[in-house]
Amino acid sequence: MGILVVLEARDGEIKLSSFEAVSEARRLADAGLGGGEVVALLCGPAAVAGVAAHSGAYGADRVYHAAHEAFGRYQPDGFAGAVVAAQQVTSALHVFFSATAMGKDLAPRVAARLQAGLASDCTALAVEGGKLVATRPVYAGKAIQRVAFTSGVALASLRPKLFALTEHRPGASAPVEALAGFNFEASAWRVMTTGTSAATSGPADLTEADIIVSGGRGLKGPENFHLIEELAAALGATVGASRAVVDAGWRPHGEQVGQTGKTVSPKLYVAIGISGAIQHLAGMSSSRTIVAINKDADAPIFKLANYGIVGDAFEVVPALTEAVKKLQ
């Protein structure tokens, strides 16, 4: 009857976004959602069972561990089977995921297996009349949708960094129990994840970055992006780009911010030489603080920016990089 939260491990640690989801589940359980119990599930190799116990501090009452030697990597069919088994063992009516690459892949699989409604990439959750109501951006944030569930089981994936990480029970450790009763047979899996490789230029992925420095067509050519990279390095930021420069081949598509790229919500977003096409604004308007540097005082980006500098990026950006370096 409780809330089941699917944890995600990376490099032997539970991701903070998972603990955000546990924190939110505890908050909702205390507000009357489900029977008050929060149960976490970790799919992973035997070695990571211990780190899952820490979810007790964020409000999990107990943890199931689905162990498999191949679970060091995300295995879609194996993980989906484990989540369904855990939902049945716990009779949870609510299942939460983080809206990470893994959660976005896993949640709809589970939803189809359980014939359950899924609210993807939620930015807020609430209990209304004892029922879950989810708030989620649509049109890349140009509008906000609120949805309720008419299925017996309700699934939600929670956008990372937006839900408060709360130690409801500081120092508490949740008991970890092996999840039994589902098919661990890898031969039944239709997809096998065989390897991973790193491929970004910055310290963090755009969707996880605290600070993003993005460049647009105002930089005039790919050879000038070193200005963006140097400022990003000084700030400890991740590099982003507008669609125009990605489509022009100046930057890899993985750096694109906007409606057909990444939707981001960093603490600080610095837009340089980006005029602010509506599809770009949609992807970054939920950033906490926005800085714009642009030659054109009438550029739409200035309407959204908390702080703007009207000026030539080729002069302003190196000066800003030097000023930031001096702070450290």
Partner: protein
């Protein structure tokens, strides 16, 4: 072998969103529809596979007859024909997936390609739901796809794909039949040729009622996001840099 491409017409990305009179859906007035940009990568991948190995490329859409012109743009890119599963009113992802899965099961498709998400509701659910309902292999957010070295999509063919994850890529292996959701970077979608546009006029769009089942999600409201506080211009040129740094450090407290 035949490939189904799941395609959804969506408001073009330069659309200024207005809320409709029911307070739950987009006001469609003045909105121009385009093929969901991610679905174009799926269609391009399908056309390349067809060019290499033969077979038929069929567009599958769940929606209304009003979407026919956008579907025809997909036919102009080179799809052979289209099936439009019609339904009234808004549908949730599971309902759309049920309708598509029933049609795919009744057909002969070794490979189903779709976009990694539609840029209207941003749910990213339908592709993997279809795969689960059909009990087929599914790989999402794919930036590289290789089928059996021959390019032919045949039952049992071994496939490898790369999918985008935070800060990197995952390598995945699977066998057909499968559902693959496509991400930017997989290919460069073609523009319809004049010949393609002419040919598309004669291609069939087969309309039939969608089998959607019960809803599982109810939309309560659609609203515009709160306005951001009005920004301010700190100053002009290099002279404004020290003040910007001070504001970021002392007022916004972000550096």
């Amino acid at each position: 072998m035949n490939i189904a491409v799941l395609m959804k017409p969506v408001p073009s990305t330069d659309t200024r969103v207005k809320v409709g009179p029911d307070g739950k859906q987009l006001d469609p007035a003045g909105v121009s529809l385009v093929i969901n940009p991610y679905d174009e990568f799926a269609l391009e991948a399908a056309l390349k596979l067809k060019e290499a190995g033969g077979g038929e490329v069929v567009l599958l859409t769940v929606g209304t007859s009003a979407w026919q012109p956008t579907i025809r743009n997909g036919l102009a890119m080179g799809a052979d024909r289209a099936i439009l599963l019609t339904a009234d009113g808004p549908l949730d992802a599971l309902q759309v997936a049920r309708a598509l899965a029933a049609e795919i099961a009744a057909g002969d498709f070794e490979l189903v390609l779709c976009g990694k998400q539609a840029v209207d509701d941003d749910a990213a659910q339908v592709g993997p739901m279809v795969a689960e309902l059909l009990e087929r292999a599914c790989v999402t957010v794919v930036t590289k796809l290789t089928i059996d070295g021959t390019g032919a999509a045949a039952a049992g063919a071994a496939c490898i794909a790369q999918r985008e994850i935070e800060g990197g890529l995952e390598d995945v292996s699977f066998a057909l039949p499968a559902v693959v959701s496509c991400q930017k970077g997989l290919n460069e979608p073609r523009y319809p040729s004049l010949k393609g546009i002419m040919a598309a006029k004669k291609k069939a769009i087969d309309e039939k009622p969608a089998q959607v089942g019960a809803p599982s999600i109810e939309v309560l409201s659609l609203t515009l996001p709160p306005d951001r506080p009005v920004g301010r211009i700190v100053g002009e040129g290099v002279a404004a840099v020290p003040e910007l740094v001070r504001l970021l450090r002392e007022e916004a407290k972000v550096i």
